[in-house]
């Protein structure tokens, strides 16, 4: 894409983009992300809202994604499962993967969907930046729940948003990773949420074209 853009010699203002909202549940209501939004806009074709859209257990269901620390925000976990089935993506940052595993087994059934530690060849590792690794925290790894061939739940062992917000304090396990790497991880996650496994199409391109001819 970069090569294409350079070849065209474009120097146009493309500021008109849809703004992507960060949606989370209380109590993270006063957080702002001015710096993160600037970074996202500077580096990608996306525009990120600078404020956090706050939801609660009763009005989250129309949001396409939701950042939470755990599932305590909603009394009825069936509602969360239905929301995921419809297309919602749950990002659990600084939460407990074991609880989520129980939740998916109960609401999706053991044979539906699959949990895994995010492998090195996962789309999250190359959706925008090429990442070598994802930081481990207290021996907890990044985990993903794949449902209907898409990333439906991702469990991040660190409190990534708390670290990336304006004036965010040092967060355990992210201090060593650093703000730049945390920003890259966030952008990759954003790209997966919005573009899925888009990169895989490119890998299969020659084969698909051969089939179409």
């Amino acid at each position: 894409m970069k090569i294409l853009s350079m070849a065209l010699g474009l120097s146009l203002s493309l500021s008109a983009t849809a703004t992507i909202e960060l949606v989370a549940v209380q109590p993270a209501q006063n957080w702002r992300f001015t710096r993160l939004a600037q970074e996202v806009q500077k580096r990608t074709s996306l525009t990120l809202a600078t404020t956090l859209a706050v939801r609660d257990g009763s009005n989250f269901s129309t949001s396409p994604w939701l950042w939470v620390r755990n599932l305590a925000f909603v009394a009825d976990d069936i509602a969360v499962a239905q929301w995921i089935r419809k297309g919602g993506m749950l990002v659990v940052a600084g939460g407990d993967a074991a609880t989520l595993t129980t939740f998916t087994a109960r609401t999706f059934g053991k044979s539906t969907g699959a949990w895994q530690n995010i492998p090195l060849d996962h789309e999250l590792m190359r959706s925008f930046y090429l990442l070598d690794t994802l930081p481990v925290c207290n021996q907890q790894r990044w985990r993903s729940f794949t449902f209907a061939a898409r990333l439906a739940i991702v469990v991040i062992p660190q409190r990534l948003l708390a670290y990336l917000r304006d004036g965010g304090a040092d967060v355990p396990c992210l201090r060593q990773t650093g703000r730049e790497m945390a920003t890259r991880m966030f952008i990759n996650l954003l790209m997966v949420a919005l573009a899925g496994d888009y990169k895989k199409d490119q890998v299969h391109l020659p084969e698909i074209l051969k089939r179409l001819r």
């Binding site: 474009l10 500077k42 919005l194 089939r211």
Partner: protein, 725 residues
């Protein structure tokens, strides 16, 4: 009326009585005595107005029933445990106050006397009779049409899960069976299909080699040797089936019987494979990752018939990723190849939030527009980066989308995108001629309930289109009630295009009761765009041939697709079955849904083992259509040929999701547990009935009735006052 007359008579009689006492008691005491008489007799009069009481009564105590179906076919003759089980069931039922209702296979079908096990013929009706009660099935799994499969004869949803299958295995004979066959029922031209097989054997002792073949009309398509390792009872195999011609094919998979194997019915199975025209190439261009793009992509990826290539703008030219390019995953995209040489190999292009003039070279822009004009399909979805001034005024796109250039909203400096514009959907009013060209309008009309209820739509490319050249489908209505074009269809050159001037429809997936509405919405759009490629408005599924209780051949199929709603038992429609045209008077039709019917009937197939069905229809709405399928007539096996087939009984139990016990030493304990679970708590059905009856003595239940009775001694006192004095 009668009651009122009686009251009047009563009052008059009391009055006359009081009048007669006037001489003896004096006027005042006579009146008081008469009043007392009136009051204490009044309950008798009030009985003329009975109350209606609803009472609940334990009308009859109905003991719960344990239904037992006993397979008494020839192969079960040595199963002595059957009597023990029946005795135990009776005993436990006595303790638990339930009732055993036995039925024998031979009672229910005369085929048993002809040395068949008619389990599959009897089971559907017997399970219907069982209803929600508990049931036991005692069988060795033998059946006269074992290759048919239980799912072909049973409607699992309506079967009580309070059941158990007790299986009877005989001595272990050498047997190899084709336990499972997995084949994706759709394949594409010039593409091999894979059949995955699971083979099982008994006993599992020495290493053994068997040959497996896939045949089509007697011709061997693929073959492979399978080796069971020593002590292994299972073997898996994936067999590639070579490319087949377009159409419906019934593949037969068979394990060639090794020496010494007596039970052969389970060595073969058939599977249907439909070969479709080649997959449909879809090119998805996205100006910037977005939720709407994400949902469109999910839909496209969920349809196996689409070969999807995506081209997303992840980074703008002026963006600075602050890293060495090697740290980015942005690999070069073969733009020249895709937009030059390969474009004609796609059938549909989806441009979403994408500016032609800013992202593609002029020649590539022209190629895209030529693609549509030459017969390609275009789905254009709006957004903040879509339909920029240059796109709609100077780029080649103007050849296929005519915007009113006098429109006030058209300004070079300002985008026509209004991100905060909230709107509702309203179906446009195309003329009959326009509507005939764009049948998608009628397809979406069927979804109008969901679409009109869609709340939360926001963001619109506010455009004024020129007067002609398109069909308005759905409009956006803003808060002031102004209608703006939202969805239009056009037919540039030989192609088709749908223009959606918003990026809001992903919200339909999140807002509705299910993602289904959103997928349906896109599916209808794609089907209209690709009508020539994916024309399957009529298709047949679940075509099954089997035998009925009289061992006649019966058939059943499901007819689905958009054209099904026009299906009628008329001359416009023809049914050909096993080479013979069928008379509609011999066909039963049941409507399952607006685009779903079930057809069934009886037929004579003669000696044919394979039977092809064709349904053809002619209607003004769709022209001429035909659908076909093919099925095998399951061979009838005598009981001795099938023998004891506990695995077949196990398949039945799995399908019905009930326990299966084959080890007869466990029968007793499992049966006891089963009965305790289903009968211990409430052996009697709590049958209550409500009864409404007239209560003439209702006043006796009222406390003030006693007060009225006090007027009896009062009357006596008044009348005898002088004598007491």
């Amino acid at each position: 009326m009668a009651s009122a007359i009686i009251v009047v008579i009563f009052v008059v009689v009391i009055f006359l009585l009081g009048w007669s006492w006037r001489q003896q008691l004096g006027g005042r005491r006579a009146a008081l005595a008469a009043l007392c008489r009136l009051l204490w007799l009044s309950p008798l009069v009030l009985a003329l107005w009975p109350r209606l009481n609803t009472i609940k009564t334990a009308a009859e105590i109905a003991p719960r029933v344990l239904h037992i179906l006993i397979d008494d076919s020839d192969s079960m003759s040595g199963a002595t445990a059957v009597q023990d089980i029946l005795w135990q069931a009776e005993q436990r039922c006595r303790e638990l106050s339930c009732k055993v209702r036995r039925r024998y296979l031979s009672e229910l079908s005369a085929a048993t006397r002809r040395s068949y096990s008619p389990l599959s013929l009897v089971l559907p009706d017997w399970l219907a009779e069982v209803g929600d009660d508990a049931w036991l099935l005692l069988t060795d799994g033998g059946d006269l049409q074992p290759q048919l499969g239980w799912q072909a004869v049973l409607e699992v949803e309506s079967v009580s899960d309070a059941g158990m299958v007790l299986g009877f295995a005989g001595e272990i004979n050498k047997n190899i069976r084709l336990a499972k066959i997995d084949l994706v029922p759709l394949a594409f031209e010039n593409t091999p299909a894979d059949v995955q097989l699971l083979l099982q054997r008994t006993p599992a002792q020495q290493q053994e080699r068997v040959q497996v073949q896939v045949t089509l009309d007697g011709k061997v398509l693929a073959g492979h040797n399978v080796v069971f390792a020593a002590t292994m009872d299972k073997a898996r195999l994936t067999l590639p089936v070579p490319e087949l011609a377009r159409g419906m094919h019934l593949l037969e998979v068979e394990i060639l019987p090794p020496g010494g194997e007596k039970i052969l019915w389970d060595n073969s199975r058939a599977a249907l494979l439909e070969v479709l025209p080649n997959t449909v190439g879809v090119l998805h261009l996205l100006g910037s990752p977005s939720w709407d793009g994400s949902f469109v992509r999910r839909y496209l990826k969920s349809e196996p018939r689409y070969d999807l290539i995506s081209f997303f703008i992840l980074r703008d030219p002026m963006d600075d990723s602050q890293v060495d390019e090697r740290e980015l995953s942005l690999i070069p995209f073969p733009v020249d190849q895709l937009f030059g040489e390969e474009l004609e190999n796609f059938r549909v292009i989806i441009m979403q939030n994408f500016s032609l003039s800013r992202f593609l070279q002029p020649q590539h822009q022209q190629n895209l527009v030529d693609f549509v004009l030459r017969g390609g399909a275009l789905l254009y979805i709006g957004g903040p980066r879509a339909l920029l001034y240059e796109d709609i005024i100077t780029s080649p796109l103007t050849k296929i989308l005519q915007v009113d250039k006098r429109s006030a909203t058209l300004q070079r400096q300002h985008s026509n995108w209004q991100s905060d514009l909230d709107f509702k959907l309203r179906f446009a009013q195309p003329t009959a001629e326009q509507r005939a060209l764009a049948s998608i309008y009628d397809d979406w009309l069927e979804m109008q309930e969901e679409l009109l209820a869609f709340a939360g739509a926001r963001g619109l490319n506010r455009l004024v289109l020129s007067d002609t050249g398109y069909t308005p489908l759905i409009n956006a209505v803003d808060k002031q009630g102004v209608e703006l074009p939202l969805l239009v269809a056009s037919y540039p050159g030989k192609g088709r295009a749908i223009w959606l001037f918003s990026d809001t429809f992903w919200r339909l997936a999140m807002a509705g009761a299910a993602r289904y509405s959103y997928h349906r919405f896109l599916q209808l759009a794609m089907t209209w765009l690709l009508q020539r490629d994916l024309q399957r408005p009529l298709h047949i599924s679940n075509f099954v041939l089997s035998h009925n209780r009289n061992l006649d051949v019966v058939w059943r199929l499901e007819l689905q697709g958009a054209a099904t709603k026009y299906f009628a038992l008329s001359e416009q429609w023809q049914l050909q079955l096993c080479g013979q045209r069928q008379d509609w008077s011999q066909v039963n039709v049941a409507t399952v849904g607006p685009q779903h019917k079930t057809l069934s009937g009886r037929t004579a197939v003669g000696d044919k083992q394979k039977c092809r069905v064709k349904i053809a229809g002619v209607d003004k709405a769709f022209g001429a259509l035909q659908a076909e399928s093919v099925a095998l007539l399951p061979r009838l096996y005598k009981d001795e040929e099938v023998g004891r087939a506990p695995t077949h009984a196990e398949d039945l139990a799995k399908l019905l999701r009930v326990p299966f016990i084959v080890d007869h030493e466990k029968f007793s304990s499992k049966l006891s547990m089963f009965m305790s679970r289903h009968f211990a708590q409430a052996a009697f059905a709590p049958h209550q009935q409500e009864k409404t009856e007239q209560d003439y003595f209702w006043i006796l239940n009222e406390p003030w009735y006693l007060l009225l009775l006090l007027f009896l001694p009062a009357e006596v006192l008044l009348r005898r006052w002088r004598e007491l004095g």
